[in-house]
């Protein structure tokens, strides 16, 4: 086994770096967790989290001084590609991808020293509190409010789509701290331990009959004053500033690519592999995927060159999600009565058309609905007036 420390990896060229990651995954990733059909809970991913933590691989984008790998965006992309290729499950990564970078950039020294090590050790598991029932795509309507009362913020309101909130012991929130400010002003960034009195978490069963999402209620929760990050009323600007190359990942061909391979498998099982009408449709989907990959590569290349991504990256997200959905719709169409089964066909996890069909549905909704993305493209990319 070669030296896989972040220091050693830094000296490798890209192919060597890539093959190190592959070897590491083969050696360390729990085989049972490859390509899980549903989002896993922390109880399942914890061993893998700790493996990464021990190797120093948990936070590829953080600077080394704070325990990260200090990788460039290009190298982080390589890692992500290899993790995706191996079918690694997403774990509870909000601490790594959101809070860590936020504190590193905007936090006080005390905040960094307190929180960052606890994220790396797995002691703190974070979840995100941005969305509200009436403020999905429309942040101006945000209503959860924090009012300063001595040394504490008095927090009231409700967040929704707090993914895996039942796993988390900390939540980060966008909260209104100035009622009179317009639009996205008057919003601050607050860190809240989940065990404070007045917090209630209610899992929401989703269409996939899974409890991934939650609603989280705050009823006069008293949060220490120092848990605010950065400047007051500047929360949304900070949150936006953190949107880096991660937006590329929303448009990754991963899901569509996975689904297309399953579509072929299903077609074989249904005796349609040589059916000309299926072949025609399948070829169109293959071409759509190949061209999506070409477009994705152009954006990935920007990231590799160290350029920042523009609003046009929304195109990837729209195209990927709708391609993924077309593929799973084709699955339903060719699966015959199997399309209605709740469980995988014959217990084979790879043959579950209805499951993949349902899982593909929210991809055009989360991260900003495709309608919102099209608004963005029209306004910020095409610069259409009105």
């Amino acid at each position: 086994m070669p030296d896989l420390s972040p220091e050693a990896l830094a000296s490798l060229d890209e192919p060597a770096f890539r093959s190190c990651i592959r070897e590491f995954l083969v050696a360390n990733y729990p085989p049972a967790l490859r390509n899980p059909p549903k989002r896993l809970h922390f109880r399942d991913t914890k061993p893998w989290y700790l493996t990464l933590s021990r190797a120093g691989w948990l936070a590829p984008g953080w600077p080394r001084e704070w325990g990260g790998m200090g990788l460039s965006a290009a190298r982080q992309l390589v890692m992500i590609e290899e993790f995706e290729r191996h079918g690694c499950a997403r774990f509870n990564d909000m601490g790594i991808t959101m809070i860590g970078p936020l504190l590193i950039r905007f936090g006080t020294d005390a905040q960094k020293r307190f929180f960052l090590p606890k994220i790396l050790s797995g002691e703190h598991i974070w979840c995100q509190g941005y969305s509200e029932p009436n403020a999905g795509s429309d942040l101006a309507s945000l209503r959860t409010e924090a009012v300063l009362d001595g040394d504490h913020w008095a927090l009231n309101g409700q967040k929704t789509w707090t993914t895996l909130a039942t796993d988390a012991n900390w939540i980060f929130l966008l909260v209104r701290t100035d009622r009179n400010a317009k639009q996205q002003q008057g919003i601050s960034f607050l860190l809240v331990p989940m065990d404070l009195p007045g917090i209630t978490v209610r899992p929401i069963i989703n269409l996939d009959l899974h409890d991934e999402f939650c609603e989280t209620f705050f009823d006069n929760v008293r949060v220490p004053r120092e848990n605010l990050v950065g400047e007051i009323n500047r929360g949304w600007s900070m949150a936006k500033a953190l949107l880096g190359f991660e937006r590329l990942l929303l448009g990754s061909p991963k899901q569509a690519s996975y689904a297309l391979a399953r579509l072929r498998l299903l077609a074989e099982r249904m005796g349609l592999a040589d059916d000309p009408s299926f072949q025609d449709r399948y070829t169109r989907l293959r071409l759509d995927l190949a061209d999506h990959k070409a477009l994705y590569e152009d954006f990935a290349e920007q990231v590799r060159r160290g350029e920042s991504l523009g609003a046009d990256v929304s195109m990837l997200k729209v195209n990927q999600s709708e391609l993924y959905q077309r593929i799973t719709e084709t699955m339903l169409e060719i699966a015959g009565e199997n399309a209605g089964l709740l469980e995988p066909m014959g217990g084979n996890r790879e043959l579950h058309p209805s499951g993949l069909f349902i899982q593909s549905r929210p991809t055009s909704i989360y991260g900003g609905t495709n309608e919102i993305q099209r608004n963005i493209i029209a306004k910020n990319v095409l610069e259409l007036p009105g």
């Binding site: 269409l207 169409e333 609905t369």
Partner: protein, 352 residues
Amino acid sequence: MDQAAEFRESLQMVRDSAAAVVPHGDLRRIRALRFTDPGFDRATWRQICDLGWPSLALPESEGGSGLGMRGFVVLAEELGAGLVPEPLVPAAMAARVLSGAPLADLLAGTSLVIPAWQERPNSLDPAADTTLRNGRLTGRKLFVPMAGGADFFLVSAREGLALVPREAPGVMLVLDRTQDGGTFGTITFDHAPATPFPGNLDRALEEAALATAAYLLGLSRRAFAITLDYLATRVQFGQPIASFQALRHRAADLKIQWELMRASVQSAAATLDLESDLPVCRAAVSRAKARAADTSLFITRQAIQLHGGIGYTDEADIGLFLRKAMVHANLYGSAPLHRTRYAALALEEHDA
């Protein structure tokens, strides 16, 4: 009032009568029955029988309403709108074939007969490998809807049809759950005692396929109505989202697609009532079923999308409609199967 107007009024009475089992907008009963055994309510089933629905499509001489398939599709549409899980379509299929005491018991609601005819996925071919010899049935049947609630199976065998009690020795039933909360049964018959029955399922299968299309028509109608309500209610950026033109145009497209589905289903029903030529009837059924499968999934998918995040929760009723469409879209033949059958059956028109 002329005859046509009278007929339209009779159809409206059928539509209104469905309210007995489909309380307007209230899906609590439907939710409660999901993932239970047998997935529907026996009391409601008896009520359905009391209303005479399993024989609705039969001629008056055979105890039916005389409204034919035009009447039955109206009823099936309403039951679809209410996501009613009781197995009316399979039972009506059995009623088309049965006679004498088994028919009387079925219509009385005392004995539920479910056809078990399918041996391959995505097939409309009731020809079977199952054998019926010396009163013993041997074979394997797939995708039998709501099989757990049946008292008898009406089974197709090489030698013809046969009735088999569910509890008979040699009958093994395995249930798979479906996305809508119901079940598909896989039934293995191993020298199960069976009573031969005359007739065949040809016509009954066409009627079941068309009634399923009508059921999809109804569930799509209601899913669309719920979505329109949501668009009018949900506020974003200070306005009801129904005011956004892109969503308005999407809604207009859904409406057009729904109306095409309706016209397709209703004209196919008229064809079945007025045409005796089986290929002509089959072409009409295939046209309607292909349209219904595609459009019901299109409408329910779009309904989820237009609901945004809330549409992806199991708490929102709209998801129930998508799940129901997922199960019923491919029953009695998928869209590709029906398109292929249509291409083979329907005469080209040369008058254009």
